[in-house]
């Protein structure tokens, strides 16, 4: 009997591997790291990950349990992803099993086979469908979009490809099929998801785009990070496409990461129109099966371009050639719970490990990335001009102090809207707060709609007639009378998008209005309907949250109004100003195009705020420089490296007591590290738990990590108080 031991990463919060004996009837020679293994774990059976084959164990070999089955014959993850995961596990100090679980699609975590399922049939447009398309407008925009797409696919289209064209492609296909406008045909055996599509001719590059493409394309064989800073509309996507083409020409694959909100049907359609072969798309809106199929296509190298959100940074690639992170400043690249990794930072690490270029693109790069560019670690490529030569819309600060406001809108803003709408153009208003009003107030006694579980007010959603807590999700009907004094005179305080919509409908009764936020797009297909109405043109008011600000292109918009810039200027987080600047420019970027110059108006009670002034008069690079100076003076990232130990518990004192113990443990050996706290979180109670944190800060990253290793290990070993939930966040993006 061999004493071969399997060291297995098991998805559990315990930060260690577990030793098992090989399954009884297993071919020992076939065992290698990277295989999935089903093992008994406590009373459950789980899918673990074989990390190492060892000869001995610290435990009594007789007490070891045998694994139940080896699920793979070859490593499920390629070596470079394994290396990336190991690096991430060390850097983020997160339990190994959970780190590995994050890299695998759900079905593989459940033990599903890695065989690609039989390819789905291809969809074709029928003669009746062509006739319907030719007769002009159809009331269902999603159906029209799909038909139009299919009409251009002479060999039919893969259902996965259609998913990118409209959101609920399955339902749309069903509807089209019921009308006999489309039909599914079994695909020819030769082609695996390969659809013929006449690529559109690429547009000409301007000088800056061409220079950016040349710089990166000259360096495709080694690791280098490029920071592509291009104003909105400067054609960053075209640069990506050219680089991807260059990489494909060398028979390599490209991985593109985008924020969830930026992964729009338009973006995918553009990729498909230009790039040959199947595109693997990975995001949370897919079914588990679709996600697994895309993942397997990427791993087999059949999909040569992989587009995905945050977790796609772990996507397996057969021949990786370039990593691209679009909107690299977007906060959604940071996972905010569980395994708290930053996908942009991991993309840089992965590029370094693979020896391939990494392109980080944004109109408003994160200050961390700009700092790296200034220090020469990243190469800065700038696209200062909009494609087609349209001027950047001028930004005007509108001082609303002492102005009479109607539901958050000042007279001058309304007048500006009237002018643009009279010219048959579109106006876009941005307010990053959904619902009707953030507070319900009793006019007689001053009672506020406090959430039972959080230190926060419940937001009034008038259409649903409910109060909803945006922090814990708790909801209840709107009170008919004040719970404190019984008065029925309750009033909505402050503005959300719903309230703005009501006010604008009253102000502009004969102008079409489209509100776009998470509430108005909850129903499947509703986003497509709204977008197609916007693109239909004509005068119209668009109103929405950041959902409207990101990713979409609205050529008819000539006026952009930022309803409330003050929220961001005075946020509690030190990144609030940076976030606000990025949002302002992103929203502003929607205004105007070559033949119709745009304008941007920002309503604020703080027209002299220094950072706002710099941003408006000198642009983002100057803003970033000023903000970086402030960060340096205050010893904040990127000039300091942070880690945040968070704790929460149902009882008020328990979290703080745990953090105090952690601090006591730390004090004696915290060389080169500053410990701040424990302090209550800015919102101390959330979802019924009291939260507190301890902030660690160091000038040198090594100091921080050298300290964290033993400290976290000791906390895990000695402070297993089940009543306290705690977690470590390395490079936290939010301090609550």
């Amino acid at each position: 009997m061999s004493s071969l031991i399997l060291r297995i990463a098991v998805p559990s919060p315990l930060d260690r591997t577990f030793d098992y004996l090989p399954p009884p009837d297993c071919d020992l020679a076939a065992l290698q790291p990277g295989l999935r293994v089903r093992v008994p774990f406590g009373r459950r059976r789980v899918v673990g990950f074989l990390l190492e084959l060892g000869a001995g164990t610290a435990l009594d070999p007789a007490a070891l349990r045998p694994a139940q089955a080896v699920l793979d014959t070859e490593a499920v993850l390629p070596a470079d992803v394994l290396a990336l995961l190991r690096w991430a596990q060390r850097y983020y100090h997160h339990p190994l099993g959970e780190v590995f679980a994050a890299a695998l699609p759900t079905l593989l975590r459940q033990g599903e086979s890695t065989e690609l399922s039989a390819p789905a049939p291809l969809w074709h447009i029928t003669a009746a469908g062509r006739a319907a398309l030719a007769t002009g407008p159809n009331r269902a925009p999603a159906q029209r979009l799909l038909l139009d797409y299919l009409a251009r696919c002479s060999d039919g289209a893969d259902p996965n490809a259609l998913r990118a064209v409209v959101r609920d492609s399955a339902a749309t296909l069903r509807a089209l099929r019921a009308k006999n406008w489309v039909e599914p045909l079994a695909r020819p055996a030769s082609a695996l998801a390969e659809t013929a599509f006449a690529p559109r001719p690429p547009p000409e590059l301007n000088a800056a785009q061409a220079a950016a493409v040349t710089s990166v394309a000259a360096d495709l064989d080694r690791f280098q990070v490029f920071l592509l800073e291009g104003v909105t509309g400067s054609g960053k996507t075209e640069v990506y496409l050219r680089l991807i083409e260059a990489v494909l020409a060398r028979d390599r694959q490209a991985l593109v990461l985008t924020p969830e909100i930026g992964l729009t049907p338009q973006l995918l359609a553009r990729f498909r129109e230009r790039l040959p072969g199947p595109l693997a798309v990975l995001h949370s809106g897919l079914s588990d099966r679709e996600r697994l199929n895309a993942w397997l296509l990427a791993r087999a190298g059949a999909a040569r371009v992989v587009v995905g959100t945050r977790s796609a940074v772990f996507a397996p690639l057969r021949a990786p050639g370039i990593l691209i992170v679009d909107e690299e400043h977007d906060p959604s690249f940071k996972q905010q719970e569980g395994f708290r990794y930053h996908a942009r930072d991991l993309a840089v690490i992965r590029g370094r490990q693979l020896g391939i270029p990494v392109v980080l693109g944004s109109a408003t790069p994160a200050l961390e990335s700009r700092h790296n560019a200034e220090r020469g670690r990243y190469r800065l490529l700038q696209l200062p001009e909009r494609v087609g030569g349209g001027a950047q819309a001028p930004i005007e600060i509108l001082d609303v102090r002492r102005q009479p406001m109607v539901d958050g809108l000042s007279r001058p803003l309304l007048e500006r809207m009237r002018v643009h709408l009279a010219r048959n153009e579109q106006a876009l208003l941005f307010l990053n707060r959904r619902g009707f009003a953030p507070i319900l107030l009793c006019h007689e006694c001053g009672w506020l709609s406090q959430c039972r579980h959080c230190d926060a007010r419940m937001t009034l959603h008038l259409r649903q007639r409910r109060l909803i807590c945006h922090h814990c999700g708790d909801h209840r009907p709107v009170d008919a009378a004040c719970p404190l004094c019984g008065s029925v005179d309750l009033r909505a305080l402050g503005q959300g998008t719903e309230r703005l919509e009501a006010a604008l409908r009253q102000e502009f009764p004969d102008v079409g209005l489209i509100r776009m936020d998470r509430d108005s797009t909850r129903r499947r297909g509703s986003l497509e309907t709204l977008l197609s109405a916007i693109h239909h043109g004509g005068r119209r008011i668009l109103l929405g949250t950041q959902m409207l600000a990101k990713g979409h292109h609205f050529p008819e918009v000539t006026l952009v109004g930022i309803v409330d810039a003050d929220q961001g200027l005075h946020g509690i987080d030190f990144r609030a100003g940076e976030r606000m600047a990025q949002l302002i420019l992103q929203v502003a970027g929607r205004a105007g195009r070559a033949e119709k110059p745009g304008a941007v108006v920002i309503q604020t009670h703080h027209p002299d705020h220094p950072l706002l002034r710099v941003l408006v008069s000198q642009g983002y690079p100057a803003f970033a420089a000023a903000a970086l100076e402030e960060r340096q003076a205050a010893w904040l990232p990127p000039f300091a490296h942070q880690a945040l130990l968070r704790a929460e518990a149902v009882e008020p004192e328990r979290a703080t007591a745990f953090l105090q113990a952690a601090r006591t443990l730390a004090d004696s050996r915290a060389d080169g590290i500053e410990l701040l706290g424990p302090a209550p979180a800015p919102m101390e109670r959330r979802a019924g738990r009291y939260r507190a944190h301890l902030l660690l800060q160091a000038t040198r990253r090594q100091d921080l990590h050298r300290f964290l290793d033993p400290w976290i290990a000791q906390l895990r070993a000695e402070h297993a108080d089940r009543r306290v939930r705690w977690s470590l966040d390395v490079d936290p993006m939010e301090l609550f």
Partner: protein, 113 residues
């Protein structure tokens, strides 16, 4: 609701509407009408007749009452009965509001002035 045992709080007063009646909806959908009632009458005091004059804000909540109060215009005559309570809970402020429980329209003949 923190109510003490029922205590007397009843005001019946007649007069004209001064200014317009404004009606809005509370977020829960309860209609709320507000108007100012102007009262002018002759009363007896210590055996002597005298003039009584005042203005008091009236709140009428709920469909039944706002249905009567909502369409009223300046000068309309009516009798309101209900209870009084302070207008808000700001410290040191004790302005009163009449919360209507019943509103009766009065015809012109019963006018005293």
């Amino acid at each position: 609701m923190p109510f003490a045992p029922p205590a007397d709080n009843c005001l019946i007063i007649a007069g004209r509407i001064a200014g317009a009646c404004e009606t809005r909806q509370s977020p829960a959908g309860v209609p709320i009408s507000r108007f100012l009632l102007e009262h002018h009458s002759g009363q007896m005091e210590a055996g002597v007749s005298r003039e009584a004059r005042c203005r008091i804000p009236v709140v009428a909540c709920g469909e039944a009452l706002t249905g009567i109060a909502g369409p009223l215009v300046t000068g309309a005559r009516l009798r309101v009965s209900g209870f009084v309570s302070r207008a808000n809970y700001r410290e040191g402020e004790y302005r009163l509001v009449l919360h209507a429980a019943r509103i009766d329209m009065l015809d012109h003949e019963s006018s005293e002035d």
